[in-house]
Symmetry: C3
Subunit: 350 residues, 3 copies
């Protein structure tokens, strides 16, 4: 993050209700209250850190209206209705400098097949490959070394980071953001066992990604056997996630890193999967269901359920089992004792 | 999938024993009986869906000889010995249009070092890099942005999809198919702890891949310390799989997504690993053994065994444990009661 | 591994104290004692394999001073203080032939933005992309198809293998070695749920990698929300590992394949994580702590602890639980029997 803002520029971006104090420092970083140094901006986003404000070394501090303390020397307090939202606005501004608006056009080093349709407002960066029949929408940004296969479609305002592969016939909606190394449209893992060998079942479907989807670095999404593997509008997928063929993911789901979803499973809207969770094939995860990290799910999960563990059970049961498992050594001793007592009782009562 | 076949073309591809009815629709998609719309082809591959045939909207339906119903209006029934096999033939045909036969030759944007030996019938696509001494076999297809390291060997009829890395000295047999982003020949993870630091043990072996192996997107296979990491003929590996250095995988195995196999382990022929299974180092998995998803294996597994869970135990035992774990809260209450009773009995019998 | 050394060359590299016997074979491979064939070099690194020396077919054998046996015909024994260290020296020599010293300069096919600062001694290989403001240090080696984002910094003597992505503003120390497909600086996974949608929290921090760090193939490290995601000096990370935003990893850690570390977690120096372990967010793993493969950690772990299982508990407890779980069927039967006996006792004592 290479930033440098004057106090006046910060005020213009964050639009505070009022200010207290002043600073001659330029803002060159953002940090938590306790970590901040002169030249940093900090913020009080959670009331429990209130006690850290008086001693922070930050040059600029974003504060809520109910914070009454005075700034230190050479420190500027900005009083805002919502310091977190103001910080987000500042970060969005910084983001534009990290990744400035790309210049439309096709870099001379890109390899574009005849018959590809590329919008005049799109940016095709250095060393991209675009095969025949592909369509690149308005203002789409293929940053560098991106591959777009035959007849694939990139929607408006998409951003494909370096090394992304969008294989033949796959489709992206608008504002889709693909982190580096994402592979969309690899073959589904389908074979038939014939005379001692695994014969490939051709995978001739595609992958269709909805609007506002984001997919993390090096994640992989397989094309359907036929028909489509789908990801619904607004769903966010983290890094190193595997989505198998014919999976259907709903809208506004959150799928954390290293999750794997097996073939032909349906994930309804607003589902949340913790990191490294594994989801079996041919099942349905109901709307709004949640699974903890490393959960292993092999059966349908009802809407709204929160499950954990392998095999996954309701979260509270899993917590209870986890506690009791640690008491297993004690339980075995207790049962040993009961048996000893019972043998004694039997003798004495015989 | 952009397809368009007349009824006559479908008949020519699938070679039915007989036909019933007729359709004027072109076949532009494939779908399950219940999902199919006019213009789709569907099929009865499993007798349990027989009741869905009369109401399907598919324009063409592949049916087994024992299906007796009549087609709907503007619907064509094709009667075949094996509808699934006929469908596979059709999909294979569609696959050729998705990925048409590449034109032999070296794309002008590729970077080929002097001394690389490239067959005249091979295709080296745009922006590939081939280092000195590499050998590319007959009809091999490096699609785009592929990297082939020094002295590496690509066998006949291999297909390396965009972004594949085959590092120095590694070898592929014939008809090997590598999905996008596969890395073959990264360094094994080997260090010696010397005076508070991890000193690298040079990894100077290679990776040797047998004929007809397929490897999924973004999977990684490490080169051996010395000697070879090997994958036997006909083995299929899914996406995001990790194969460590000096692993030896047999023939015709199935390794599902996100599996990890630790260093120097031997996996014999016909082994099947479910998704996210983790296999420890320096062990042997016997011929035809199977492990369930997320299984954690740290000891040798005998041939033919089916194991599950972490640590992995025989499948039926793991199922039984999983059920009993959910009864742990009840078991603790039962033991509480027994203890209460025992205390009462002791008192009353004393 | 394509090697060919005369016996004299092997002697020059390994510097033995004394030799026994002689061979006319050139050394063309390295193999374990039992696997070696004529033309191979082998070694006795562990006394337990001593009995394999007399029958090995290796042409050259590295042996410790206390090994007294005589070489076979056409076999050369080299007596060394430390055969393993001598082997490491030989492997380091072989490594230089696998990956010979790159020639400094910028390959004409690379795409370098104006304003990038590239040392004259650095090597920028074919089809690399370097954005504006990036800095490439002395003798750094970008092998091929590497991407370096705006204002990113590559330290001296780094080696970035094919397909590596170092995103904007991220920084590498000296001698950092990145295996193929590593992504550094992808967006952290941060969203706020607003009116039924996940709104992106801009991720404007960076990633800072210390000296002598090595990162395995296709691993991903996310940039911080603001501030930095950090990896300390000398830490080694295996393949397909996920490091989330704002994670701080100490010095000299070992992180095995497919581990995932969630956001804002601190990992202190000398920590070791086994393969596929999952580490929750906002926790601290104390200095020198270890976690077994597939462990699931959701709470702070004290320095020096060794934990295992999900949820992770002290290693010895986890081993005990694992054994007792397999006795659960038996335990339930024992409690059934106790209850039956208790009912009988109650009756008889009533």
């Amino acid at each position: 993050m290479q930033v440098s803002y004057t106090a006046a520029e910060i005020i213009a971006i964050t639009q505070p209700k009022s200010t207290r104090g002043a600073t001659t420092e330029r803002v060159q970083g953002i940090a938590a209250l306790g970590d901040a140094r002169p030249g940093d901006l900090s913020f009080l986003g959670n009331a429990k850190y209130k006690s850290e404000v008086p001693s922070t070394q930050a040059s600029v501090v974003l504060l809520p209206p109910d914070y009454a303390g005075e700034p230190a020397a050479n420190q500027l307090h900005l009083v805002l209705e919502n310091p977190s939202a103001a910080l987000a606005r500042l970060c969005a501004r910084i983001e534009q400098t990290l990744w400035p608006q790309p210049v439309p056009g096709i870099h001379p080093s890109a390899s574009v097949a005849p018959g590809a349709k590329i919008s005049a407002t799109a940016t095709v960066g250095p060393l991209c490959v675009i095969e025949a029949g592909a369509v690149i929408g308005e203002r789409a940004h293929l940053q560098a070394q991106v591959f777009i296969g035959r007849e694939a479609v990139v929607g408006e305002d998409c951003w494909l980071m370096p090394g992304v592969v969008l294989a033949a016939s796959c489709q992206l909606g608008t504002r889709v953001r693909l982190q580096p190394g994402v592979v969309i449209g690899s073959d589904g893992f389908g074979y038939e066992f014939v005379q001692g060998r695994h014969e490939k079942i051709p995978q001739v479907g595609n992958v269709v990604i909805g609007d506002d989807v984001e997919i993390g670095a090096n994640s992989t999404l397989d094309r359907a056997r036929f028909s489509q593997t789908t990801v619904g509008e607004g769903t966010k997928i983290d890094n190193l996630v595997q989505i198998a063929h014919n999976v259907r993911i709903g809208r506004h789901c959150l799928i954390c890193a290293q999750v794997g979803i097996s073939g032909s499973t349906t994930v309804e809207d607003y589902v949340v999967f913790g990191g490294q969770a594994g989801i079996g094939g041919h099942i349905t995860i109901g709307k709004g269901a949640k699974a903890g990290g490393q959960a292993g799910i092999t059966t349908d999960i009802p809407a709204g359920a929160f499950v954990n563990g392998t095999p996954a059970v309701p979260f509270m049961l899993e917590r209870r089992i986890a506690v009791l498992q640690q008491k297993l050594p004690e339980l075995f001793r207790r049962v040993d004792n009961l048996e000893r007592t019972a043998r004694g009782t039997e003798k004495s009562s015989s």
